[in-house]
């Protein structure tokens, strides 16, 4: 994916590695290319190296190996303050001894901007995050959400083309977080800035981003737009990590016409779309999204393989029903159905048959 000759590339990581202690690689062979104006999210479990990548881009950590380019020029040897990258920190890092206006004015002052121009820009930035009336306060006098907005405004006030955000909403409650997610994406698109956003919250990643890079173990497992990531995970880590997912384990019997016949461990056969398997005999982990499972016989395609299932638990969740089944020895098989007028409510103990479209069932690496 990395391509040095890519003229569109604004941010590029090329074969970047990072080790703190000289023994373990925290980032292993990172390749990433971002066009200008993209909102890219780095998503991954804690400790997967997201922050490290961000810090290398910002200049606070140096890459042990590889090249990081910004707008075509290598920035490995440029100190952080000359990179012109805006940054929002998880704890906001608003300077406690300065007022809000002074905080916002700080990046302009160090750029030797005139006083009137500074005031003008600070005012505009405050208005942008709807905090115009708070310029004279200290950070400690603001709520978490307000501080968050100020941190955002400060990262944007000097008009950087690239803004990095490291779990900026981590400290907010759910409602506020959703509101801020919307505001941040909205702002980013309106200003046309390029954003690298780090989070471990997959909903946040899916709702905000143009593309999501899923990190695990110091590598990008998959980088794709949210819908692709959800619907076509390329390996079982991504399938597990993004959204809810049912897995069944088995062995490939045959691959024919783009459909893999998989024999599950209890002997039953199912049809899958081969993603990470290429030949019969391979072990595989089959992934099916809960909402793609069908148990209404009338709606099942004729001729597809079905599986017997026993209903273990029925959970009413308002807009959806969530039913837990035992399928092929797996007690945690979940299906989700919409709460529609004609929907059947399953009873615990009921024996049913379930099935799905072969393309919704992906045979991934074991």
């Amino acid at each position: 994916m990395a391509d040095a000759s890519n003229v569109d590339a604004f941010v590029e990581f090329e074969r970047v590695q990072k080790s703190y202690d000289g023994e373990n690689l925290v980032v292993k062979d990172l390749n990433l290319t971002m066009p200008k104006g993209e909102f890219l999210t780095m998503l991954g479990p804690s400790g997967s190296g997201k922050t490290t990548c961000l810090m290398m881009l910002a200049g606070f950590e140096t890459a042990t190996h590889g090249d990081i380019r910004l707008d075509g020029t290598s920035i490995n040897n440029i100190p952080p303050h000359k990179r012109g990258i805006g940054m929002v920190f998880q704890n906001y890092a608003l300077f406690p001894h300065m007022t809000i206006a002074e905080n916002l004015s700080f990046p302009l002052e160090v750029r030797n901007m005139g006083k009137s121009e500074r005031e003008e820009k600070v005012k505009r930035a405050l208005d942008m995050v709807e905090m115009g009336a708070f310029g004279g306060r200290r950070p400690a006098q603001l709520s978490g959400g307000q501080q968050q907005r100020i941190a955002l405004a400060r990262a944007l006030v000097f008009e950087p083309e690239l803004v990095l955000m490291d779990e900026p909403l981590g400290a907010l409650d759910k409602q506020l977080r959703e509101k801020m997610q919307f505001e941040i994406t909205h702002l980013a698109h309106r200003l046309g800035i390029t954003v690298v956003y780090v989070t471990h919250d997959q909903t946040e990643a899916l709702t905000m981003s143009d593309r999501v890079a899923v990190f695990d173990d110091g590598r990008i497992q998959q980088i794709a737009p949210p819908d692709q990531l959800y619907e076509s995970p390329e390996n079982s880590f991504v399938a597990q990590f993004i959204g809810e997912n049912n897995t069944l384990e088995g062995t490939v019997k045959e691959i024919k016409n783009g459909i893999a016949l998989v024999q599950l461990d209890d002997g039953e056969l199912i049809d899958c779309k081969p993603v990470n398997v290429s030949q019969p005999g391979e072990r595989t982990r089959v992934s099916i999204r809960p909402e793609r499972v069908e148990y209404n016989k009338d709606r099942l395609q004729a001729g597809v393989h079905t599986l017997k299932a026993e209903v273990l638990e029925f959970i009413y969740m308002g807009d959806i029903f969530r039913t837990r089944l035992r399928v092929a020895g797996n007690d945690e098989f979940i299906i989700k159905t919409r709460n529609a007028p004609d929907q059947v409510r399953l009873q615990p103990g009921q024996q049913i048959e379930i099935g799905w479209l072969p393309e919704d069932c992906r045979a991934l690496d074991a």
């Binding site: 910002a58 200049g59 606070f60 303050h81 940054m87 704890n91 300077f95 700080f106 990046p107």
Partner: protein, 542 residues
């Protein structure tokens, strides 16, 4: 949730006002908390508050003059200190009555010492007078005795002055009760009664003797002469032998045949300085129960007819000392900041394991005796010391003019900076530890250079640590004693060394207390100014 719209006091569940219920609930907690701190409170009260109060009191207290020379103090009030002449004879007489008692009680040197603080030389005047004051009036003694040998008998004086009831009571067994004056004598012979009363009580208390067995000292005769001269009819009040004796004496005095003797001449004979009005001016000035004299002295001032005035230039020392103490403490504080800040910074930014190791090094000086450390500096800094040797060896300094680094201000500043440095580093460190390093990163990401990020973002947040350290170091320095004493020489000593001198050598505790009080006020004033300028809530000690 409290009901905000409700008018009137909010009520608790049992109908009582909520405020009162809360206060009741909190009272128990408060009492318990108070009990916990009570031992410390008591300790602080006894060992800190009371001594300070005592010191404040001592700095103005001046009862000794009035207590020891009560009659003189009264008599000298009528004398005009600006007349340029010594006081009249009556004042000397009063002095003789007072001093003879004081000498017997061995208190005359203490008054002398007290007054000597104000006018040097008075001490020896009093010491000499104490030895010979019982001779003042000797002439009268001899003439009375010549008139009638009975005047040489203690019993005669008993019959004239003693209260008959007292005489009766002393007849019983056991200790003699304190001498009581007869009403008659008190009215008829006021001065002599006073003098005799003092004599009787003094020998009872000091020598455990009875006035019935001792003939009185000469000043009593002088007082008797004075009374009889003033009131020749005094004898009418008495009866029997006493009346006869007094009548004879009065007649002799009236006839002009008794040779008079001046108390003043007697004193001037002991020392001609008793005629010096300055001595008397001092006595009059410091006759009050309370005095601002110690404070004036501590501020290099002295009393003069036109209010306080500066002492002559060669007698001013405290102003210089205070100023020097302040400036040197400031210098020590500054050098502690300069040396301590980077250390604290490094400690705060190291991984905690390493930081703890290094912290031990910072604290190491605390574990060695102050004296040892100070003496080590003597070894280092003296002219034949390590540093000079090294400089000479390196050829930077020639052997003949080795640097003088000890027994001066430089030595004091160096040694005290070393000793007080931990007090600067610790609060700085504890403040810096709380400064999140992301602030620096944030500043740099916003375009600040390393220096700007430090100066505009990190430094202001570390100021509370500097403030706390500075207050600690400055206040410790301003009252420091041992180190300046050992390495300060004459040029590098502090005001506290002077205070110690007055406490333990000159024994002028009043002046020491006044100096201490001024020091305390200066510290409080600086503290107040600091609070005004920086704000005391900006100080974090941890």
């Amino acid at each position: 949730m409290s009901d905000i719209t409700q008018s009137g006091p909010v009520l608790a569940a049992d109908g009582r006002p909520l405020k009162r219920s809360l206060a009741r609930a909190l009272r128990m907690q408060k009492i318990r908390a108070l009990m916990l701190i009570a031992p410390l409170l008591l300790f602080v009260l006894l060992t800190f508050i009371l001594p300070i109060a005592d010191m404040l009191f001592r700095s103005v207290e001046n009862r000794i003059v009035q207590d020891t020379l009560p009659q003189t103090v009264v008599a000298v009030q009528d004398w005009d200190a600006d007349s340029g002449e010594a006081p009249p004879d009556a004042v000397y007489e009063a002095l003789a009555y007072d001093l003879v008692v004081a000498a017997e009680r061995k208190q005359h040197t203490r008054v002398g010492t007290r007054l000597n603080y104000e006018t040097p030389g008075i001490s020896s005047l009093f010491r000499k007078a104490g030895r010979r004051v019982d001779e003042v009036g000797e002439g009268y003694l001899k003439q009375f005795a010549a008139l009638d040998p009975a005047w040489g008998e203690p019993q005669t004086f008993m019959s004239v002055f003693a209260d008959p009831e007292w005489l009766a009571s002393r007849a019983g067994a056991g200790d003699e009760p304190p001498f009581q004056l007869s009403e008659t004598a008190h009215d008829a012979l006021p001065k002599a009664s006073g003098a005799y009363m003092n004599f009787a009580r003094t020998i009872q208390e000091e020598d455990n003797d009875s006035p019935a067995e001792e003939e009185p000292w000469a000043p009593v005769y002088m007082a008797l002469h004075s009374d009889l001269a003033a009131n020749p009819q005094a004898a009418q009040a008495f009866s029997g032998d006493a009346q006869r004796l007094l009548q004879e004496a009065a007649a002799l005095i009236e006839s002009g045949q008794m040779e008079t003797e001046s108390a003043r001449d007697a004193f001037v004979k002991m020392d001609k300085d008793w005629a010096d009005p300055e001595v008397w001016r001092t006595l009059k000035t410091y006759a009050g129960k309370y005095t601002n004299g110690y404070f004036l002295n501590a501020a290099d001032l002295q009393k003069s007819p036109d209010g306080p005035e500066l002492r002559p230039e060669d007698e001013r020392i405290y102003g210089t000392l205070f100023l020097r103490t302040l400036i040197m403490s400031l210098a020590i504080t500054c050098s502690c900041i300069v040396l301590g800040y980077p250390v604290a910074w490094i400690l705060a930014n190291l991984p905690s394991r390493t930081a703890n190791m290094l912290m031990i090094l910072v604290l190491l000086p605390f574990w060695t005796s102050l004296l040892v450390r100070t003496s080590a500096w003597k070894v280092m800094l003296q002219q034949q010391g390590v540093i000079n040797d090294t400089l000479v060896w390196l050829g930077l300094v020639s052997d003949s003019d080795r640097l003088v680094m000890i027994n001066n201000q430089f030595g004091t500043i160096v040694a005290m900076t070393h000793i007080l440095l931990p007090f600067m580093i610790l609060p700085m460190y504890s403040v810096m530890q709380t400064i999140n390093p992301t602030y620096l990163r944030a500043a740099k990401s916003l375009g600040a250079t390393n220096w700007t990020a430090f100066w505009r973002v990190y430094f202001p947040q570390s100021v509370p640590g500097i403030g706390a350290g500075s207050i600690l170091v400055f206040i410790l320095a301003i009252g420091y004693y041992i180190t300046p004493e050992l390495v300060g020489g004459t040029k590098g000593v502090f005001i506290s060394n002077r205070i110690a001198f007055h406490i333990s050598q000159s024994l002028n505790w009043g002046l020491a207390a006044a100096l201490g009080t001024i020091l305390l006020v200066i510290v409080l004033a600086l503290y107040w100014a600091y609070d005004k300028i920086v704000g005391i809530d900006n100080v974090k000690l941890g």
